[in-house]
Every structure is written in C-alpha cells, then in structure tokens.
C-alpha cells in the first residue's frame, strides 16, 4: 500500500470516529426534571464540614443536602429553617428552640432534638476541625426536654449565636460515617461522588419543604480555571460558581451567557506581623498602606471588577462603612510617616507569598510600590503547607499575604493570639462588648468603632474585596450570585 493511501485510511478512520461520537447535546428536559451541571474548582476533601471537608463541601452540600436550624440566604438574611421559633431569656443566656415537625433524614429517620444536640456538640468536640469551633465555646449546656424542643444555655451573652447557627448542619445522631456518607434533611440526597470528577445530587422526594425546581444537580470539578471555562463554553456545564480571572470573561460576553457580579466576602490582605519590629510601629504600617496604590493593583488584576474597602469589613456586614479614605494612597505621606518612625532610609522585609494566583502578581506589585519609598521587599514564595506551619502556627514571619473568605470576621482582630498578633485592648474590649450587646443596633455600633480603630492603626493592609463572578448559560435562572461563605444553593435553579 502506498503511503498516500495509508494517510487516507487513517484520516477516514478518524473522521468515522468523530462522526460516531459527535452526537449533539441531549435536548433539554422539562425544567422540573432537568439536570443542572455546575462547574467548580472546589472539590470537597470529604463530606464532613466539621471534619476538614473544606470549602467544597459547603458549596455542594450546605442547604442542598444538609440544613441548619437557620439559613443564611444568598442576600445575607438569617431565616428560620429547621427551627420554627426561638425564645431568648431576658438575660440573653437561654435560647429555647422549637423544631419543625415532619422533618426526616434521607435515611428515613425522623429528626428530633437529640440530633440537634448531637450536631451542636459535634462542632465543639475534641476532634472537631470546624473553623467555627471557637464561636461555640460560649455554649454551657444543651437540654432536650422533648423531641421538638432544644434549650441551649450560654455562659455569656452572644448576639451572634443565632447567626452562627446558620453554619451548623443538623446531622443524624445515629449515622456512623460522616466523612464518606451523607444523611441530611435537605432537598437533595447525595447520589454519587466520583472523587476527582463529579458529585451528583438527586431530588429528595420526601423533602419537608418546597420541592427543588430541578431534579438532579451535578457538580463537575476541575483543577484549573481554563478547563472550567472550556466546560462552560462547550456546554458541559451550565454555570461556573466563581470565575477566577477577568481576562476569561471576554469569551462569555455574548447573548449565550450571563455574567453576574455579586457580593463577595473574600478579602485579599497584606498581613503584617504586628508583634515584631518594624510592624509593631503604627506609623510604619500606615506608611506602607499609603505607599501602595490598591486601586491600581485591583484594576491590574480584576479590571473593572472588585471593590476597595479600606478595612476588614465587606459591604454585606451590618457594620460596614467606607474607610478607604483613612489611609489614602499618598507617597509623600508614606515617606513622612516612615521618617517619623525612624525609617527615613527605608528597611528590608520578607514577604511570605502563597504560590497561587493572584498572590505572586500582587506581591510583585507591592514590591515595586514600596521600592519608591525605600523599602526593599524580598518575596518568599511558600506552599499552603509552609504557610500554615510557619505563618499561621508558629507566627514565624514578618509579613504575608492571605485571602480571608468569611463574612463578619473582623472579630479576629480582637484576639491578640491570632496569627497577625494585633493587640489593642480597646479593640478587644469593643469586640467582646459587641458580642454581648443586647441588640443588633448596639452590636453594629460597637463593631463600627472597633473597625475604625483597626483601620486607623492599619493593623493590616486590606488590599481589596474580591469580586464574586458567576457565569452561567443564558438558559439558566435562579442560581445564587453572592456565594456568601462559599455556599451555592441549587434548589431554585431553573433550566429552560
């Protein structure tokens, strides 16, 4: 056979293969029975949100398979879910919760107060890895006078207690393995988890509440943003929960897609180790904050997206106020502050920089900005593991960069032992008072005062608030756009 014929045979074989496999996408089913395909970069580590499940398990299962006594809506409002009513004693120390009737776990067992007690205790158990564990130290005792009532007694007032309950999943106390099996009360049951690939949820026909507007939800996991974007472009997924780069958005600017710019709670922070010189000097911290043009940095990374906030508090927190003017970008002022602090000729410090985007680019920008005021930055690239060991656990660093994803987390500045070591007794006192405030108005007022002090002292440089960009096929509606605390409720999604 001549080579030309051989090429022809190979070409024909490939064409036949393409024809065989290249079938068109299945026609859309009626929307109530539709399958919604969600693309994400955050695969769960395991299925237990108190066992190190990570951001991914919250995104997939929170509100979808597991429910709490209360729900934090996508708009940031706390509403009743498995609790129908609550009564607070006059001293604010005793909470009596009435549970919803007729709620069953996916295994068929009826939810009772014993399950609620079990779930609350699971968060503060010795082996709990929940980041919220410290919030529940205030719980003194939990009583279950009957199957529908739970009485929680606190050791001190905690105005955030109800809010914090939105993070707690009510789990079946009889279940054995929370890391690998799911048994919640939510509108979807876990159908299958092919680790490294997909996690499928199927409608729970015995759900106590309103039935989901779709039948099946499949989370498709990717390890790089390009593959994730390609999946949306080729119709393999209907929506991506969080776009990672504004550059990629250009390809979605057509009538086939919708780009939502929602509210985020993720802050990019230049963290100073406030315990050690020269960062224990307020003037030095303010000088650095004024020497970096955060607006330019935000624009270079996110284009028209993202927000400058000037503090740890995002606009969705009730105690938000615009503090971007407290430490304005002003190189002359930065030089003046450095001179006043005794560093007229600048100094050198090491910036421990996580390896993943956007930290390397942001660190390079900071380095060039600080060079203008005589400060030399040595960028030290660190893995997640190194960061956790050296920065978080040992506090062995001068400055670092990190994302803080949760809302209402300004309270960490009230803990002098936290990794950034900010220690201001007035702030600590205000934050403690706020937690024990009799009402939300006073709480907000006290936290505003604390936040102003923290910003004025430039405890850190809050570079910007990330945008929360959800990109979806234009055939989709009803999906969450804010992604508060990484949650992604799927039950209202309609696919036409």
């Amino acid at each position: 056979m001549k080579p030309g014929k051989k090429f022809g045979v190979v070409g024909v074989a490939f064409a036949v293969a393409l024809t065989l496999f290249a079938t068109s996408a299945p026609a859309n089913a009626a929307s109530a029975d539709a399958t919604v395909d969600i693309g994400s970069l955050y695969e769960p580590q395991n299925l237990d949100n108190t066992g190190g499940g990570g951001q991914g398990v919250v995104e997939a299962l929170n509100g979808n398979s597991y429910e709490g006594l209360y729900r934090l809506t996508d708009g940031g409002v706390v509403e009743n879910l498995l609790a129908t009513a609550s009564k607070v004693s006059k001293d604010g120390l005793t909470y009596t919760f009435t549970l919803r009737s007729g709620v069953k776990f996916h295994s068929g067992k009826t939810m009772t107060s014993a399950d609620v007690k079990f779930s609350l205790e699971k968060v503060s158990a010795a082996d709990s890895k929940s980041a919220r564990k410290s919030s529940f130290k205030v719980v003194k005792s939990i009583a279950t006078p009957d199957a529908k009532t739970v009485v929680v007694t606190l050791s001190s007032r905690s105005i955030s207690f109800i809010y914090n309950l939105t993070y707690i999943w009510i789990m079946n106390s009889a279940a054995k393995d929370f890391a690998t099996e799911e048994d919640g009360t939510g509108p979807y049951k876990l159908s299958a988890w092919k680790r490294g690939s997909t996690l499928s949820l199927v409608r729970n026909d015995a759900y106590w509440g309103t039935a989901p507007k779709n039948k099946t939800v499949v989370y498709h996991y990717f390890t790089n943003a390009t593959a994730l974007n390609n999946a949306l472009l080729t119709g393999a997924v209907d929506v991506i929960t969080s776009a990672q780069s504004p550059d990629a958005l250009a390809q979605f600017k057509s009538s086939s897609y919708k780009i939502s710019n929602g509210q985020s709670t993720t802050k990019l922070i230049l963290v100073f180790n406030d315990r050690v010189a020269p960062f224990n000097n307020v003037k030095v911290r303010k000088a650095i904050t004024s020497a970096i043009d955060n607006k330019k940095l935000l624009a270079s990374i996110w284009g028209d997206y993202g927000t400058l906030i000037g503090s740890m508090v995002p606009p969705t927190d009730p105690w938000y106020e615009d503090l971007t003017g407290v430490n304005p970008y002003n190189v002359a002022l930065a030089k003046k502050l450095l001179a006043a602090a005794g560093y007229a000729k600048g100094f050198t410090f090491r910036l421990d920089t996580p390896q993943y985007d956007p930290h390397p680019a942001a660190a390079a920008f900071i380095k060039s900005e600080l060079a203008k005021v005589g400060i030399t930055v040595n960028i030290n690239s660190v893995t997640d593991d190194q960061w956790y060991n050296n920065v978080y656990k040992k506090h062995d660093y001068a400055a670092t960069m990190q994302e803080h994803v949760n809302d209402r987390d300004v309270v960490w500045y009230g803990n002098p032992d936290f990794y950034w070591g900010y220690n201001n007794t007035t702030v600590t006192s205000l934050i403690n008072q706020a937690e024990q405030a009799p009402n939300a108005r006073i709480q907000a007022s006290l936290l505003k005062r604390a936040n102003r002090i923290i910003a004025t002292e430039a405890a850190s440089d809050w570079i910007y608030l990330y945008p929360q960009i959800v990109v979806a096929s234009s055939t989709l509606s009803g999906y969450p756009i804010n992604g508060l605390n990484s949650q992604f409720y799927a039950y209202n999604i309609v696919k036409n």
Binding site: F222, T223, Q402
Partner: protein, 321 residues
C-alpha cells in the same frame, strides 16, 4: 527460560521492596504536615494537636512505616487521612481511567508508528520518506500539553464536536459517552507517542536494511520479502520492543499531564492532589502501584524480547544468571 523467569521475578519483588522503603523515606523528608490540609484559618492550637493525632503525623517514624507495611501486605493500602476513603478502591477507580487511556493510546500509536516507520525507512530517499521523518521529529519536539490545548481549541471550542475535558458522571457505565470524552486525550498521547516510535522503527529498519545477513540472504536467492520476514523483522523487533516498553511506562507515569489538560480523574491527578495535601497513604499507594506497573512493563518487554530473539536468553549480560 524457566530459570530466567524465576530470577527475573525475584528481581522484580526485590525492586518493589526497595522501592516501597525508598518511597516512605523520601516522603518523610519533604517538610510538611498532613494535618494542615484538614484545618483552616481560625483553628485553635488544641484543634491542630487533635488533627495531628488523628492523621498519625505525631507517631514515631518506625510505627508509621510498620503501619504502611501492614496496609501494603493486605493490598488495601490504608485509608486516606484527608478523605477517610480506603486507598485501594480509590486507586482502582482511578486506574479504570488511566489504564484504558494509556493502553488505547499505546495501541493507536503502535498502529500508526509501525507502518509509518517502515515506510520512512524503505523510502528514506524519497520526498515523502523525508517528510515523514520531519513530521516525526516535529511530533517529538512538541510538548504533549500543547498538543492537548490545540486539540481542545479545534475540536471542542471551534467545531464543538468533542468535549473539552472531564468524564460523564456515570463513568464506564456509559461506555460510548466515556470514549467520546477520552477521544481527544487518546489522540493527544497517540500523536506524541507515535512520533517517537516512528523514529525508532525507522532507525531499527534502516539498520536491518544495511546489514550483512540481509544481503547474504538475498544473495542466496531469497526474495526481499522472504529475507525480511525470516531475518530482518526479528532483528529489527528486539530494540523496538524495548523502546515500546519504555514508551508505555513513560506514558503511564506521565499521563498526569494529559489528565490535567483534559481534567480527567486518573491516577496522575490523584497523585498531584495527594502530594499537595501530604496525604501519605494515598501518595505511597499511587507510587507503589506506578512502580509496580513500570517494573511489570519492563519485565514483559524483556520477556517478549527473549521470545522473539531466544539468543538473548543465553547471551544477554542482564539475564541475572
């Protein structure tokens, strides 16, 4: 032959034992703590200590090693300290993708490389022989991930006839669907692998074509086809089989690149994720299985070489007798 087989098998087992010890020691030299992957910012010192105890990173190294040997001896490889899933079934699940991906790509590559390599050798002095040689050089020079990206652009994004990555949620329960998702990754590997194989086949064939024994056979009255069939192919096959074995092993271990480009849940992507999390049982399990696969491929390649060319059994310096 039986003696050779027994000794070669003993060598295989010894290699595995040494590899498992080396793997364990090397992993522990890398700084890091698997407990960190389970914790987040906000964890208290008590939580950190509890997590370290849970994952066993606070145990003495010798105890950790004995635990690894125990898990290895039962072939279930222990339990992931991050996901709590047993490692054995996890590896089996990932192999169900990586093995077909590698093998199908390998068969396609060999099917392309053998005829093209022969043509490139037989017609070395023609324009298409030169062209084939040039193309195979080009195929070797192009990085596999780049081929993958180009294929995605053409077939997934431009013409939208094939998926850009991933696999169907139902996996191999949907064979046509899964094959459709694997078509581009297979084509990517096959293209790159066939390029280098074509070069080796061409080179081995050229050696045979210029050999004295082939000329002697022709002078004794054999036709070209007879001479090639009786003498040429056997001699050309031995080095090619050896290279094919190496290529297959390299592709199996190097599948991680293609798996990453095409977002495939194979063994390579499991390894990458486990390394980032210091998930020792999973890393050890994956590397052990990979080592076993590479040694087995080498063993089979040696065996086939000796079946094709029995002289190697008695003359090879590496026959361990």
């Amino acid at each position: 032959m039986a003696k050779y087989l027994i000794r070669r098998f003993a060598f295989l087992l010894l290699s595995l034992v040494l590899a498992s010890i080396t793997l364990f020691v090397l992993l522990r030299i890398i700084p890091g703590d698997p407990a960190n992957a389970l914790l987040s910012v906000g964890a208290t010192p008590e939580q950190i200590a509890a997590a370290q105890h849970e994952v066993g990173s606070d145990l003495p190294l010798i105890i950790q090693f004995l635990n690894w040997v125990r898990d290895l001896s039962t072939f279930h490889f222990g339990t992931s300290i991050i996901s709590s899933y047993p490692v054995g079934p996890e590896i089996t699940s990932r192999l169900s993708l990586t093995v077909p991906l590698t093998l199908i790509a390998f068969v396609v590559a060999v099917a392309i490389a053998l005829p093209l390599g022969f043509i490139a050798a037989f017609k070395a002095k023609t324009w298409y022989g030169t062209l084939l040689n040039g193309f195979s050089q080009l195929g070797i020079a192009i990085p596999v991930f780049w081929v993958g990206v180009i294929f995605i652009y053409i077939f997934a994004l431009k013409f939208m006839i094939l998926p850009s990555g991933g696999v169907p949620p139902e996996g191999w329960a949907n064979i046509p669907g899964t094959l459709k998702y694997l078509l581009l990754p297979i084509a990517t590997i096959a293209l790159v692998m066939s390029s280098s194989l074509t070069r080796y086949v061409r080179s081995a064939t050229l050696d045979v074509l210029g050999s004295d024994y082939l000329r002697t056979a022709r002078s004794m009255g054999s036709t070209f086809t007879q001479a090639m069939t009786r003498h040429g192919l056997r001699n050309a096959a031995a080095p090619v089989i050896s290279i094919i074995g190496i290529e297959l092993a390299t592709t199996f271990v190097g599948a991680v690149v293609v798996e990453s480009v095409f977002a495939l849940p194979g063994l390579g992507s499991l390894l990458v994720r486990s390394i980032a999390q210091h998930d020792y049982p999973v890393i050890q399990g994956v590397l052990f299985v990979s080592t076993f696969a590479v040694l087995m491929i080498g063993f089979l390649a040696d065996l086939i070489q000796r079946i094709v060319d029995p002289r190697l059994i008695s003359s090879s310096a590496g026959d361990l007798r």
